[in-house]
């Protein structure tokens, strides 16, 4: 598994290597990435794990359903906004760059 880079809420970039994390929110929490509060623990309830992913658009699906409904009211929402708890990790995410946004 390759490297996934987070750019935290203060603009600091941090490289992480997934071990057994299932989704990007867990990866961020396990690496103490600033700005990912993940209050609900990953059940798509709180929108405190908002990120923007601008590369690898071909393999990262757009938000839909409940996730999209939550995101529609999040400040700083962008076209490629996602809730990181809903982005599953697999080897195709190698070299992904994930920008953390405030909830």
């Amino acid at each position: 598994m390759g490297i996934i880079t987070f750019i935290d809420i203060n603009g600091q970039s941090k490289e992480t290597i997934p071990t057994n994390e299932v989704n990007l929110m867990q990866l961020a929490v396990n690496n103490n990435i600033l700005g990912i509060d993940a209050e609900c623990g990953g059940c798509c309830s709180c929108a405190t794990c908002h990120v923007v992913i601008n590369n690898k658009l071909d393999i990262i699906p757009k938000a839909q359903g409940d996730e999209l409904e939550l995101l529609n009211f999040v400040p700083n929402k962008e076209d490629n906004s996602r809730l990181s708890c809903q982005v599953l990790i697999d080897e195709t995410l190698n070299d992904l760059i994930v920008e953390v946004k405030s909830a």
Partner: protein
């Protein structure tokens, strides 16, 4: 180097520790917990982890390695026996530990119930991982369950146990379930939904005594109903853990009294999370709120005060509860509401109940409606007097409502 001690290892304490680590890189940070486990998410205990095979690692707040990596010392099985605020030390593990700043994040313990005829070890509660494990073990040989208390813990547990095929009875002393937190329409809705899933309710009644049976108990209510149950679970609220604070003269009333920075009346001592009775500027009063979001918000406020970062008022309180396929998200406090406006479709289980006071939206309960919940969060935060007929107009989407209200 600043020495920071946190008493209590759950949502509030852990969030404070990691926030402080980011804000004060060279601080010495110690967390003392009376549990033998590393901190874990509590909400799943009555939900997902009751329904499925799961282990502690699945619900840890942070992996163990992250504490070491961030130089946060986590002391398991280490109850703090007393605080000496004159010498700025706490006593644990038969030793003294010095602090410059002390954060009390001791949470609460379940309010207990004595039932005439039932051995106290046969009454189960759900607060800690060990409580949930004990319950899961007992469930293996149980068919019928009595849940005392129709609040969130009781109802989430009822839902989880129905999913597992158990016979479930819920008894509530008040005249409706969820009466402390929701309006009567929501209480009726939730009771009907549970009944459609097979839960039996006894409302406005109490257990008076019980007789032991071969497997479990035969219980009698005040109104004379008889209930047979293999297992008895009690969920009637929590009592804040304030003993350490009270002993040293910290003001307590329904929790440890703190100002908007989470400071107690004793220098360098803070209190956060379920145990704190926090002064909310927004509401002009002290409130003790039991929720994950409240715990993390207060952790943030208190950490910023310790590190000298600017104060940011906590966001409006919000909560969530999962029962069956119903995801309920609540935002705001409905204290003193005058009117209810319902949007959406109750029969389709996708609707939102808005609480109105003085022409403002003060709270909302959103069932399977995450968009309305997020919108309500913004509307309530703005605290603006609005034309309610716009909200009543169901042909408008919530975004259109907000536009018309210039929010």
């Amino acid at each position: 180097m600043k020495k920071i001690i946190i008493i209590g290892g759950s949502h509030a304490g852990v969030h404070a520790a990691f926030t402080l680590r980011n804000q004060i890189p060279d601080a010495k940070i110690d967390i003392f917990s009376d549990e033998s486990h590393y901190p874990y998410h509590r909400p799943p205990l009555s939900k997902k982890s009751l329904q499925e095979e799961s282990c502690l690692d699945d619900i840890l707040l942070k992996p163990k390695a992250l504490y070491i990596k961030n130089n946060i010392t986590f002391h398991t099985d280490s109850p703090v026996t007393n605080i000496d605020s004159h010498n700025s030390v706490i006593h644990a593990q038969n030793k003294n530990f010095e602090y410059d700043k002390l954060i009390i994040a001791t949470g609460g313990t379940p309010r207990t119930l004595e039932i005439d005829g039932v051995a106290s070890q046969d009454i189960l509660y759900i607060r800690n991982f060990d409580d949930a494990q004990k319950l899961k073990n007992k469930l293996l040989n149980a068919h019928s369950v009595l849940i005392i208390g129709g609040g969130y813990i009781g109802l989430e547990t009822a839902a989880s146990l129905r999913v597992k095929g158990k016979d479930v009875t819920v008894i509530e002393a008040a005249n409706r379930i969820l009466n402390r937190v929701l309006c009567p329409i929501m209480s009726d809705y939730y009771q009907s939904y549970h009944e459609s899933k097979g839960v039996n309710f006894i409302i406005n009644d109490q257990i008076v005594n019980a007789k032991k049976q071969t497997s479990g108990y035969q219980l009698k209510t005040k109104k004379g109903e008889m209930i047979s149950a293999n297992i008895i679970i009690v969920g009637i609220g929590i009592v804040p853990t304030i003993k350490l604070a009270e002993e040293i003269g910290i003001n307590c009333s329904n929790g440890i009294e703190v100002n908007q920075y989470c400071q107690t009346n004793i220098d360098n001592i803070y209190a956060i999370g379920d145990c704190s009775n926090y002064y909310h500027e927004r509401y002009g009063q002290a409130l003790r709120i039991e929720s994950v979001q409240n715990a993390t918000e207060q952790a943030r406020v208190c950490s910023s005060h310790i590190s000298g970062n600017p104060f940011k008022e906590p966001v409006v309180p919000w909560f969530w509860s999962d029962q069956y396929d119903l995801n309920l998200k609540m935002v705001g406090l409905n204290i003193g509401y005058e009117e209810i406006i319902i949007r959406g479709d109750i029969n389709n289980h996708k609707f939102t109940c808005f609480y109105i006071a003085e022409n403002k939206v003060v709270a909302a309960d959103a069932v399977n409606s995450p968009g309305e919940f997020m919108a309500a969060k913004i509307i309530i935060t703005k605290n603006k007097k609005v034309d309610l007929n716009i909200l009543r107009d169901q042909s408008l989407s919530i975004s259109e409502v907000m536009k018309l209200w210039e929010l």
